[in-house]
């Protein structure tokens, strides 16, 4: 049996788990965890796109061989990770503000727009 599709299936599972968490959980912290799981799924997808079977990491310092995997998706994954950290920090600070204002982190309670 051919298992070469397995990493992409894991990506689909991660993204679906994250979407489930965002859709069905009412705690805002858990929703942010869902967004982080989606980010990790996308990062895993980018890294799996770069993989070549039996090749080395794209760094010439004491490399085991001169056949290397694709370097561009790795660079873009680094960019994606840092942007994920920044957006997660911003979302968490919004949750801190909501907790100050409403006294709860339940997404049903924070929906009303009055004082």
């Amino acid at each position: 049996m051919n298992f070469t599709i397995l990493p992409f299936v894991m990506v689909v599972l991660l993204i679906t788990m994250g979407l489930y968490t965002v859709l069905f959980k009412r705690n805002l912290i858990k929703m942010i965890m869902g967004v982080a799981i989606i980010q990790n799924g996308v990062n895993l997808f980018l890294v799996s796109l770069a993989y070549r079977d039996g090749y080395a990491a794209p760094i010439w310092t004491s490399a085991p061989s001169s056949d290397m995997v694709l370097p561009t998706p790795h660079a873009l994954t680094l960019t994606s990770i840092v942007i994920g950290v920044a957006t997660t920090a911003l979302m968490l600070s919004f949750v801190i503000m909501l907790k100050r204002h409403y006294g709860t982190v339940d997404s049903n309670e924070t929906r009303r727009c009055r004082e």
Partner: protein, 99 residues
């Protein structure tokens, strides 16, 4: 009722993603056999003579795709500005009306 609709939408997205992933196999860009590698081969071959750097990923980040890194640093800066704005000390203001 709303939960049922949300569950249905989730299942549709899951099936769509699975179908999209099932196309990715073999020579068509499957795991271990990526497509369109001419640019990456260029980076791998020439980054040492262009940049005198061993780490090809860092050479891409800071030379070939430097504007991406600049945008990333700007996003981090804006996020920090947002955090500082949201979490600043707010003096309680007395409003008219109740309380």
């Amino acid at each position: 009722m709303r939960k049922v609709f949300a569950m249905l939408a989730l299942l549709v997205i899951f099936a769509f993603l699975l179908l999209a992933v099932a196309e990715l196999r073999g020579e068509d860009g499957g795991f271990g056999e990526p497509v369109h590698t001419a640019m990456d081969d260029y980076f791998l071959q020439d980054s040492q003579s262009h940049n005198q750097a061993n780490n090809v990923v860092t050479a891409i980040l800071f030379d070939y795709r430097g504007l991406d890194t600049l945008g990333e640093a700007t996003v981090l800066f804006s996020a920090v500005s947002g955090v500082l704005t949201v979490l600043r000390k707010v003096k309680p203001v007395k409003r008219g009306g109740k309380e």
